[in-house]
Symmetry: C4
Subunit: 197 residues, 4 copies
C-alpha cells in the first residue's frame, strides 16, 4: 500500500480540524467594537491551536517523507494521532470561552499531552517498520524536542492548580520550540543521498 | 474513468464526517472538571464512531486497491455507502446526548446495519464488474467478518428492547473484530503477483 | 494550467457541501422513536439534495474528463457553479424544517434552476474553448436532459403556488432522469479513440 | 520537499473556508418569502467573501505554479495567509448579521488588509527563495493591484467612520479589480518557455 492516500486523508482531516475551530468563534450580537472584547480569549486560544496544528501538519509531513510502505500498524497509529488532534476544537473552545480558567486550561494540556504521545507512538511504529537502518531514527536523533514537550505539558497541567497563566506560558513556549521546522529529517535525507552518490 | 477522483472524493467525505462529529461535542458552560462529566457518554459515542469510520476508510482503501476501472454502478454504490456513513454524526450525537437510551442505541445500530449492507453492495458491484477472475472475490473469500457484522447489528437492535448495554457491547465487539486490518486483499494481490512472475 | 487542482478543489467543495448538510439534522432532545418523526421531512430533503449533489459530482467528473487546459473563464464558470451548489445546505434545511411548505419549496427549485444554468454556462465555456472539434459538444449532442431540467424546475416553481407536492414530485423526477450516469461523454471518447487507431 | 502536499492542504483549507461560511446562513423559522428578507445582507456578505476567496484560490494557484521547492519559510508564510483567510467566516457573519454596521464593516476590512499583507509576505518569501532570476518577480512586475488593494482597504476602514456604504463599495471595487485572473504569471512562464526553445 502506498502512502499517497494516507497523506491525503491526514491532510484532509487536519485541514478540517484547523478550519472548523473558527466555527467556535460565534459572531457577537452587538455591532460595536466592544462586542469583540469578550471574544479575545477565544481568538487567542484559536491562534494557539492553529499554530499547534500547523506544527503537527508540518512535522507529520516531514515524518511521512521518510516512509516507503504503509503497514496496518502505521495506519492505526496515524488514526490514533488524528483522534487526539480532532479534540482540539473542543478543548480550544472550552478554554477560550472560560477565559483560561484552571480546569479547561489543564484539560487543554492533557489533550496536547495525549496528542504528543500519539505522535511519538506513530514515530516509533514507523521506525520499527524501517528496521535498523531507519532513516527516521537517524533523522530524529536524540529527539530532544519530542522528549521535552510532554514533560512541559505535565508541568503545565500541574501548574494550573497554582496559576493558569503559567500553563498558558508553557504552551506558548512549546509552540515556539517547535515553530522552527524540523530540518533534521531533510538533513538526514540529504546526507544519505550524498552517501549513495 | 480512473479511480483517482473516486478515492479522493470518498477520502474527502470520510475525512469530513470523521471530523465534524466533534462539533456535536459542545464546550460546556461550566469551567470545572465536573462540567465535563455529562459529556462522557457523548465522548465515548464519538470514540466508537471514530473507530468505525477509521475501519471503513481502511477497508474501503483496500477494496479500491483491487479496482482498475470505475463504472457508473460502482460510483453510485459508493455514493450509497457514503450516504449511510454521513448519518453517523447524527446518530452518534443522538445516542451520546441521551446517554445510550434504548431508541437512539437501536437507531445507531440500524444505520450501522444499512452502512454494512451498502458496503456489501459496493463489494458485489466491484466483483460483478471484475468477472470470474475477480481479485476482490478471491481476496475476501468466505467473508466471515462481512457476514457476521450485519447479524450482530440485528441482534444488537433487538437487544435494545431488553437492555441497551448489550447492544453497546456488541457494537464494541464488531469494531474489535474489524480493527484487525483486512490483509486478505494485500495477500491475494501478493499471491497473484508471484504467480505472474 | 492543468486541471488537477481544479478537480481537487471542486471535489473538496462538493465533498464538504454534501457532508455539512447533515449538520442541519439536529439530534432531537427526546430519546424515543417518536422524537425522530418531526425530522422525517428534513431527512427526505437531505436525501434528495444528497442525490442531486451526487449527480452533479458525477457529471462534473465526466465533463472535466474532456478538458485539456483550464482557462480563467473555465475557472470562474466553475466557481459560479460551486456558489449555487453551496446554497444547497441552506435551502435543503429551510425546506425540510418547514415540512415542504410552498415558499421554501419554490426557493429550493430556484437554487436548483440557477445551479443548472451555471452548469450549462460552464459547459458552454468549455465547448467555446475547445473550438469546432469540441469533444464535449459532440458528446452532449442535443443535450435533451440539460434542456429539460431547467424547464421542469420552472414548472415546479410555478406549481408551488398550486400545491407544493407537485414541485416535490418534479424534483424527484429530474433526479431520476439524471440518475442514469452520463455515458455520452464516455462513448464519444471511446469513438474518437477508435477513429484515431 | 515537493509542493504537492502544500497545494493539497491549502486547497483543502480554502475549500472548507469557502463552504462553511454558508453555515452562518441559518434557515429562517418562517415559511414565507418575507422570512428571507432579513437574510439578504448575510447573503450579500457571503457572496462578497465567496468571490474574495475564489480570487485568493485562483491567484494562490498561479503563484505556486512558479514554485519549485517549498522551504520552511514558505510553509509558514502560507499558513500565516491561511490563518487570516480562516477568519473570513467570522467577519462575514458579523458584518452580515449586523446589516453592514460601521464596526463590523471596518473589522471586515481589517481582516482583508491582514490577509492581503500575508499574501504579500508569501509572495516576497517565494521571490527571496527563487533569487535574482525569480520567475515570480518577473511575472508580478510592478504589482499595481497588489499595492493598490491594501491602500483601498485602509481608505475603506477609515471611511466606515463616515458612512459604511463607502467601505462596502470599495470592497466590491477591489474584488472587481482582481476578478480578472492574474495572467501575468502565465505570460511570464510562456515567455521564458519560448526563450528556452
Amino acid at each position: 500500500m502506498g502512502k499517497g492516500r494516507l497523506e491525503a486523508f491526514s491532510d484532509g482531516v487536519l485541514a478540517i480540524i484547523i478550519t472548523i475551530m473558527v466555527l467556535e468563534l460565534k459572531a457577537p450580537h452587538g455591532a460595536d467594537l466592544n462586542a469583540l472584547r469578550p471574544l479575545l480569549p477565544a481568538l487567542l486560544s484559536y491562534l494557539l491551536s492553529f499554530v499547534y496544528l500547523g506544527i503537527y501538519w508540518n512535522n507529520h509531513h516531514h515524518m511521512l517523507h521518510s516512509v516507503q510502505h504503509v503497514s496496518g500498524a502505521i495506519l492505526w497509529a496515524n488514526l490514533h494521532l488524528l483522534f487526539w488532534l480532532s479534540l482540539f476544537p473542543f478543548v480550544t473552545a472550552w478554554m477560550g470561552e472560560n477565559h483560561f480558567a484552571a480546569a479547561p486550561t489543564a484539560v487543554y494540556g492533557l489533550v496536547q499531552l495525549l496528542a504528543a504521545m500519539a505522535y511519538w507512538v506513530l514515530q516509533r511504529t514507523i521506525i520499527a517498520r524501517q528496521g535498523r537502518d531507519s532513516l527516521l531514527a537517524a533523522a530524529i536523533g536524540k529527539d530532544v524536542k519530542g522528549k521535552l514537550s510532554p514533560a512541559l505539558y505535565v508541568v503545565a497541567i500541574v501548574a494550573t492548580t497554582i496559576a493558569p497563566w503559567i500553563a498558558w506560558a508553557l504552551y506558548v513556549a512549546v509552540a515556539l520550540i517547535w515553530l522552527i521546522p524540523d530540518r533534521r529529517i531533510e538533513r538526514a535525507l540529504a546526507e544519505r543521498a550524498s552517501q549513495v552518490e
